[in-house]
Amino acid sequence: MKMNVSLPGLDLKNPIMPASGCFGFGKEYSEFYDLSKLGAICVKAVSPLMKRGNPTPRVAETPGGMLNAIGLQNPGLESVMENELPWLERFDVPIIVNIAGNTIEEYMDVARVVSKAPNVKAVELNISCPNVKEGGIAFGTDPYIAKELTARVKDVCHVPVYVKLSPNVTDIVTIAKAVEEGGADGLSMINTLLGMRLDLKTGKPILANETGGLSGSAIKPVAVRMIYTVSQQVSIPIIGMGGVTNADDALELILAGASAVAVGTQNFVDPFACPTIIEELEEKLKDYHVDHIGELTGRSWRPSLQPLTTR
């Protein structure tokens, strides 16, 4: 029981979960392993109506990472309620529904409904998607709107609300504090960095959407610094993400201040990424002077008299 983590709404067997958009609604990965092994599952963004997303190409590779411009394609609230969430009930794992909307009302509509599904234990407001024209990132760069959105969703949502922050801001602490004031139960950070690649033969952007969201190892140092900074300024827990490929990366985000860790891009590289990280993490914990993984959260800045490792 060294690995379990208790967060608002979420009783996690372990702190590892797939990140939104990198795991669909679980079906594909259920063909590789038992999803009940996971701490939680954060599903793809859900919008009120079905969304077609952006034209292809939607991904491009970059040094140590990748760009995506999926554009929040999803089957829409109704289909998710009817097909995806009930299907996931066969697993003993809490579900976090990532929500995207063009207006505050759309976020509220989805939250109101999905939060009634029995296995949905929390929602995550995606106010940071760089790949859609409306909503998305706009909500994540203005602290007033972010706070307002959080508060309004809190009013209608039956489960705790996590807000997913964008790294593409001058001052992430202000946004984080704003959503905390708005009543957020937790934060998820970070979403992708805005980036772009050009095709040297045509001179044009590789992505049909021109710009995309940068994820993968390349962004880990940005995630670490943002989690480190924000976790010292808020008192709600943080689900950390950004460039986690192995147990060491997960530990780095936890030491920086995350209470749980989501794995995104690495699922594409290795479909077994999450269960592998869970196993390795449990093994690695033996090197640390702790009875429980929760004691490592924020240890980079939390004063402590004990040395961290036994080595």
Partner: protein
């Protein structure tokens, strides 16, 4: 449950300009039975490159527990793959996707196989399986130039084989569609794999039913990330190239 496997390189050689043929050995071969499926390869530990690379299964030898790929060196991924020597490992996720369907063929059908460039490889296992099931095949293979041509001999053993090169330096001059037109090639159905413009031309010119194998930039390769979608022609929905395809019935999706 699906698996990934660190398979062992048993051979690696150049067979045309920048084109490599590589065979891998391992247990996953036992489940590689649909021609047209592909594997998703991690060619290196670590982050350079980060993503897997999709490569078609070109032929399968169940007895030897090996399968063969034919690929063109394009960028960093295929380059690193080409440096793998016999004995080294490549991490394989697959077989993935849906291949060329053969169940609905009437017995002793005649099939036209149309391949362009690195679209040729998946047709080879298809040709082998079709002929071994008693069907006959005619292959039309298009390449840019003489030095790009590969697998002509292999296909010839299985049926009449025409080669077209864009610059006319080998075989017929022009595109595969030119050859099909000039030689009035036809059959009960066709199977095609190659660049988009070729697939488009084939789809709109061929009066017989057929199947097209598409390429798209991929993330996961298993249907989870939605990187590789294509639109359906007649409904509002979409299909994923990696898991619903890569092979689609002609007319099903927008090429």
């Amino acid at each position: 449950m699906k698996k990934v496997e660190a398979m062992t390189v048993v051979s690696q050689r150049t067979i045309a300009n920048n084109i490599y043929e590589c065979s891998l050995k391992g247990d996953l071969v036992s489940v590689m039975n649909e021609p047209g499926q592909f594997v998703h390869l991690k060619v290196t530990d670590g982050i350079e490159p980060t993503l897997r690379r999709p490569i078609s299964i070109c032929s399968v030898d169940t007895n030897e527990r090996t399968f063969t790929m034919v690929y063109r060196v394009e960028g960093i991924g295929t380059k690193k793959l080409s440096h793998k020597l016999p004995g080294e490992r490549v991490n394989v996720l697959g077989p993935l996707g849906h291949g060329f369907p053969m169940e609905e063929l009437k017995s002793e059908s005649h099939c036209l196989l149309v391949g362009g460039g690195i679209g040729v490889p998946p047709l080879y296992e298809l040709a082998k399986q079709l002929t071994s099931k008693g069907h006959s095949v005619t292959a039309v293979l298009g390449f840019r130039s003489k030095e790009d041509v590969f697998y002509e001999r292999e296909f010839s053993r299985l049926g009449p084989t025409f080669v077209a090169t864009e610059d006319g330096s080998y075989g017929e001059m022009g595109f595969v569609t030119d050859v099909i037109g000039a030689k009035q090639l036809t059959g009960d159905c066709y199977y095609a794999c190659g660049p988009r413009p070729m697939l488009k031309a084939i789809e709109s010119n061929m009066p017989i039913p057929g199947f097209l194998s598409l390429e798209e930039r991929m993330g996961c390769g298993i249907g989870a990330c939605l990187a590789c979608v294509c639109d359906m022609k007649n409904e509002a929905g979409y299909r994923k190239v990696c898991s619903d395809g890569p092979v689609f019935k002609a007319g099903e999706v927008v090429v």
